[in-house]
């Protein structure tokens, strides 16, 4: 009889844990929808970097094809980087330079090189890449919010740990602390919504560097549309042909 009681208690406990995990996964998916309204998308992005005194530093334009199964293609559109591409297939990354006809296989660490971390631009969903734990209800300024602690579920992600705060009522992302592999706080993110009273989409992500230069980077989402790219576009050798990707 005692054994049966233990089994029942264990079952209740496991059911509770599963339900809680399911609950946090659903919260992440809800938060993701404010940046990725569909599984396969084309997103035009503008990155503006500001010095610590607030003066403008650099501006870059990118087109991102964010596709299912952790696949992304980033096209650099600014004159200084025109023709450069970064392809991310789960944990595998390639850099394509305009003056070279061969893709460079790069490590996750090399992906972080350059003016803006490609991971900041290309990663638009947390639910697929992170497992979340509910930390608790908190207050984010005047807004009641939920604090989630995200741990990377695969090795290729830019940030190993993310502390995320989402709105309690609508689950829109509010702010996040982004930690690199060594568990150092790399950046703090703040999300700007289209309609603060009834948000439907993130229009801007403001990143404050905490690791090196303390500069502010604003990632502005200029246009989003649902788009599934041909399979060949996600082959690095196809991209090396410098094809038209319109």
């Amino acid at each position: 009889m005692t054994a049966i009681r233990h089994i029942v208690l264990l079952a209740i406990l496991l059911t509770g844990i599963t339900a809680r995990a399911q609950g946090t996964a659903d919260l992440l998916k809800a938060a993701d929808r404010y940046r990725m309204s569909a599984t396969n998308m084309q997103v035009d992005t503008q990155i503006s970097t500001f010095n610590t005194d607030g003066s403008p530093d650099k501006e870059r334009r990118y087109t991102v094809f964010a596709q299912a199964n952790h696949q992304s293609l980033v096209l650099m559109q600014s004159p200084a980087e025109k023709g450069q591409k970064v392809l991310m297939l789960a944990d595998d990354f390639w850099l394509l330079m305009p003056n070279s006809q061969r893709p460079l296989r790069i490590t996750p660490m090399q992906k972080l090189l350059g003016d803006a971390s490609t991971g900041d631009i290309a990663t638009m969903s947390w639910a697929e890449d992170y497992s979340a734990q509910l930390v608790g209800d908190e207050s984010c300024g005047d807004v009641p919010c939920i604090h989630l602690s995200l741990t990377a579920a695969r090795k290729g992600v830019t940030y190993a740990r993310i502390e995320l705060w989402i709105g309690k009522a609508r689950h829109e992302p509010l702010r996040a602390d982004l930690y690199v592999q060594s568990d150092k706080l790399a950046k703090q993110a703040r999300f700007v919504m289209d309609k603060p009273a009834a948000p439907t989409a993130v229009v801007e992500m403001v990143l404050q560097d905490q690791l090196s230069n303390h500069k502010e980077t604003r990632v502005r989402y200029l246009a989003r549309k649902e788009r599934t790219v041909p399979e060949a576009w996600l082959n690095p050798m196809f991209l090396a042909r410098n094809p038209s990707l319109d």
């Binding site: 200084a80 003056n99 006809q101 996750p108 660490m109 972080l112 090189l113 399979e231 050798m237």
Partner: protein, 418 residues
Amino acid sequence: MSRLLKIAAALLATTAASAQADVDFSGQVRPVWVDRQAATLGPLAEGARLAPELIALPASSGAIESELRGRWQMLNAAVAMRQERPESDAWHSDAAVNELYASGDALGWQFSAGRKIVAWDVGYGFRPNDVVQQETRRTLLTSTQQGRALVQAEHFDAHTAWSLVWVNPQRAADNEASTALGADEQALAARAYRHVGAADWHGFARWGQHTRSSLGAAVSWVANDSLEVHASARWAEGADVLAFDAAAQGLVGSSPYRVVTQSNRQQALLGATWTAEHKLSLMGELWYDGTAASNAEWDAWSARNRQLVQTWVPGGPDALRRGVAGNLGWQVQAFGGQSQRRSNLFVRATWDHEGWQPSLDMLYMPADRGRVVTAALGWQGDRVRVDAGARVNAGPGESVAARLPVKRTLFAAATWAF
């Protein structure tokens, strides 16, 4: 010059047309200054000492380099122009169509025809499996190579790629093709690629009109978050090299260097890149180039240099002085290969910080302890990139590096992209 004007007119027409047609174009303009200090050792220095009116030492120069790339429907083009003024000389201009090809797809295959750049290998300092064309490696500034005339068919799916290339098809009926050096010959080349997890695998095959068959393989493998390892190997039934004609003894009336096809050559490279969280990258590469001159051939080259210098006795006839100088000048042709020595070690450190990119690299040739050391600093702004640096060829007096024509090069460039 008229060629330059024609291309400039074409560029203007393209730019104007882009306002109305769906033309995608980009480009850059780059003023460059290169300060060269000639070596005091080596056959060129010896020749110039004997007959400065005959043997010109490498001069410093200023140049303006422009490049325009464009795409319109099925057509792709890349045009480069260069205006250069060597020190104590007049401006001269040159222009080249680096790429001009049409591309399209049918039946699941992609086709291209025209002049096109094709690069396949995985290394940085040495790329034996770039079998369609060989890029100049370790240049002081990035530059676009000139493509080959070719017809190309390619097929891609999610993880594989097949490429078939007919290089220099215009040479099919060219009787002179047998004298074309290396990749200038007519050839068929194939590349198979497969992405398997953390590794990219490549297989290569080439059949050249007179160098015959060659086979190669390459891999690039991401071992962990920070480390990438790459390797490349090639075996060639024949390889074209510029070699000294052993029949030429003493002073000769024309260059004793001839294009010869060597048989059964091997080339191999092993390298790795490590990148740290704070954006420091270290690269190391070790390669063997069986097409480079052997130690015995360099010994013979050194012996001939000494013999030529000793041929001249001060006060001798002027014709002898000019003859010795000319023969010493031809000895510089020995430097024409991809690698000077067969065994090479290359190390490179780069750091990326706030738009600044300092780098330091060294090519070391263990056979004679010669080395080529390059230090550079780049800065990338919104539209402008600035590069400056220095390269020194050094080593023991008998090393090949110490006897290259240039001892030290300083360079500075500003690139404006549009």
